[in-house]
């Protein structure tokens, strides 16, 4: 982890540091989005960047998500390295054609003769009282699209390392940030480094249950694991970090050790990416290591409500994770025990 030359910075600063580093290193990298210039981005991620790189490389766009994500797709096809920022991940609906029909498929449709090395950065998730059109977790949609990669770092260290990997990647990468992670601090090396896309990380070891999770939910899982430890339950927490391609091997190894699996995801439960995590386990050899049916902690199948208590009621919380693990452990032992 952190080398000697490191200091504590926020997740926001880590994302910025990756962009700044990549842009200093390669004139073909540019950032484009709404209010990313002097305003510094809706969440302040690009603050100060236009002063260093100028308006030609830190580009304020009109409110025109399809237009500029389409433009970035074309620039990437020409070999540039665009980073498009969407202010809220909900606005991704505006550019679905550009992402799903164009960027994701160009390489395949052209028989491998071309690629779209673009990064689309966007904050997802709820918990901010922003209601139904500014709080969604839609990342599972893109996990469902071959040709796209989807990453969702939970820590400043991973945010910097994964963003640098995403910018290097020859494919289109959706980079999910979280509004409630931007101020989270951690020791991060000064130097550039890469966290490989597609590798999960065991962030806490335990023998009793595997909690597979990503993004902000990773921190809820860790909080829950601490609380469970006080009750004599040691949870192993697997931070997926990348949702597509998903590191099924790491999840399987943990499940084979603990025999129990709980997925904690912020998106709505129905057809969420957690369903994929569990399906891969139960259709593979690791099924026989399970001594309980796996469980999911996810958002209720409703739009995100505005009122704080309503919002909390439908979202996953550390307490709900604790409850889910305890009910799982209390459940009748399965036939394979």
């Amino acid at each position: 982890m952190p080398s000697s030359a490191s200091r504590e910075i926020t997740y926001r600063e880590a994302v910025r540091e990756a962009m700044v580093g990549a842009m200093r290193n390669d004139p073909e990298v540019f950032l484009m989005g709404e209010d990313v210039g002097v305003y510094g981005g809706a969440f302040g991620v690009s603050r100060g960047m236009v002063e260093e790189f100028g308006e030609d490389r830190v580009v304020d766009t009109p409110i025109s998500e399809a237009g500029y994500v389409g433009l970035c797709t074309g620039a990437a096809l020409m070999g540039m390295r665009p980073i498009a920022e969407l202010q809220f991940s909900d606005f991704i609906t505006h550019c679905m054609d550009q992402l799903v029909n164009q960027a994701a498929k160009i390489r395949y449709m052209f028989g491998g003769e071309g690629s779209v090395p673009m990064v689309v950065r966007t904050p997802g998730g709820a918990g901010t009282g922003a209601a139904a059109q500014h709080s969604q977790s839609l990342e599972a949609w893109f996990v469902h699209v071959p040709g796209l990669k989807v990453v969702m770092p939970s820590t400043p260290y991973d945010a910097k390392g994964l963003l640098l990997s995403a910018i290097d990647d020859q494919n289109t990468v959706l980079f999910y940030e979280h509004k409630l992670l931007y101020n989270r601090k951690e020791e991060v090396p000064d130097e550039p480094y890469r966290v490989p896309i597609g590798e999960a990380r065991v962030s806490r070891e335990g023998e009793d249950v595997t909690i597979a999770t990503a993004g902000l939910m990773h921190h809820y899982a860790l909080e829950a694991a601490d609380a469970l430890s006080g009750k004599g339950v040691e949870a192993e927490v697997v931070d997926l970090r990348t949702l597509s391609p998903m590191d099924h091997g790491s999840i399987a190894r943990s499940v084979e050790k603990t025999g129990r699996l709980v997925v904690v995801e912020e998106d709505v439960k129905t057809a969420g990416w957690g369903a994929e995590v569990i399906s891969r386990i139960v259709e593979g050899e690791s099924f026989y290591a399970l001594d309980r049916a796996p469980a999911r902690v996810a958002a209720a199948d409703v739009p995100i409500p505005y009122n704080r208590s309503l919002e909390t009621y439908i979202r996953p919380t550390p307490e709900k994770v604790v409850d889910a693990v305890q009910s799982l452990l209390d459940a009748r032992v399965g036939v394979y025990a």
Binding site: E28, G67, G70, C72, A75, G112
Partner: protein
């Protein structure tokens, strides 16, 4: 405009494009092609005229009706035929078919199965040229149907505010599948919309290769000079149905016959005869040459091996 030898070459390209599509149409009718295609027959002068105004290093984006664009840009009909037949030797190794023929390295950034789908991509190519300080231009083909898509608005606006070197060439062939342009838009010309973006809008007769060429050349010059995009509209007509499933229920035979009388290839041939560049017997030879070339391309393609089934799992990621 173009030198005389080149003018005969343009006629040959139009013939090649027409013969290619007529052949594909026949193969569909005979049930020999699996899939679908959209035919460019009747519109050849637009692609061949406009693309003749490009320079080395310029790029194009195409549409679902893109065979003519590809041939005009100089793509190899052997590899196009192979792609239509789904062969490994095709431009997309059998993964794209008619609607995705591309040669990115050469600057043909792809046909596109989504109406308006390549307009954002065209802006991106223009962005890359501008950012790299290259004086190349992008020629973006789209149909009048795409002019009612949101991406049309966003792309033209972005190209205009950033003065991107893009020429938006609307091939107004009168119908978006069955929807008449007269019912689909309340403005007289698609090019009238240019005013709304602060760029020049020009409408030309798409049946006149020279008109298309000259308007495209001027717009491309403007683009290369850093003066920004142009919305160019060529009035044209597709003789054949939208795709192979079209029974032409939304238009009359008389209407089709009327447009066929103004055939762009015939007009250009007559013009070349008047200019003393072509004799009647030469015209027949050109037609025969074109037919032979296309027959040869499809014969070769038919004798290629199918791609390996497991190749379907490759090329998803780089």
């Amino acid at each position: 405009m173009q030198d005389n030898g080149n003018r005969v070459e343009l006629l040959k390209k139009m013939l090649l494009s027409r013969t290619f599509d007529e052949k594909v149409n026949d193969l569909y009718a005979e049930g020999k092609v699996h899939g679908t295609a959209h035919f460019y027959v009747g519109q050849e002068s637009v692609a061949i005229g406009a693309i003749a105004a490009l320079r080395e290093g310029d790029v194009i984006t195409s549409t679902h009706r893109g065979h003519g664009h590809a041939i005009a840009f100089g793509l190899d009909v052997d590899r196009m035929a192979a792609e239509l037949l789904g062969q490994a030797t095709g431009y997309c190794h059998g993964k794209g078919g008619s609607m995705h023929i591309a040669d990115v390295r050469a600057g043909m950034l792809g046909a596109n199965g989504i109406v308006g789908g390549s307009m954002g991509i065209a802006c991106g190519a223009g962005w890359a040229f501008k950012h790299r300080g290259q004086d190349h231009a992008v020629l973006c083909f789209f149909g009048e149907g795409a002019a009612n898509e949101g991406i049309f608005h966003e792309s033209l606006n972005l190209a205009a505010i950033w003065k991107l070197p893009v020429v938006f060439l609307c091939e107004n062939n009168q119908y978006g599948m069955s929807m008449s342009v007269k019912k689909a838009t309340a403005v007289e010309n698609i090019s009238d919309r240019a005013t709304a973006y602060g760029m020049p809008g020009v409408t030309v007769s798409g049946a006149e290769l020279d008109e298309v060429h000259d308007a495209a050349a001027e717009a491309l010059e403007r683009a290369r000079a850093g003066e920004g995009p142009t919305l160019l509209e060529a009035i044209t007509y597709r003789y054949l149905g939208h795709s192979k499933s079209d029974a032409n229920l939304y238009r009359t035979r008389e209407e089709i016959a009327m447009w066929r009388k103004r055939d762009p290839i015939q007009r250009f041939a007559v013009k070349l005869e008047e200019e003393g560049l072509l004799k009647e017997e030469e015209w027949r030879t050109l037609e025969e040459q074109s037919k032979r070339r296309i027959e040869e391309a499809f014969e070769k393609a038919q004798n290629q091996p199918d791609p390996k089934p497991e190749s379907a799992l490759e090329d998803v990621y780089a």
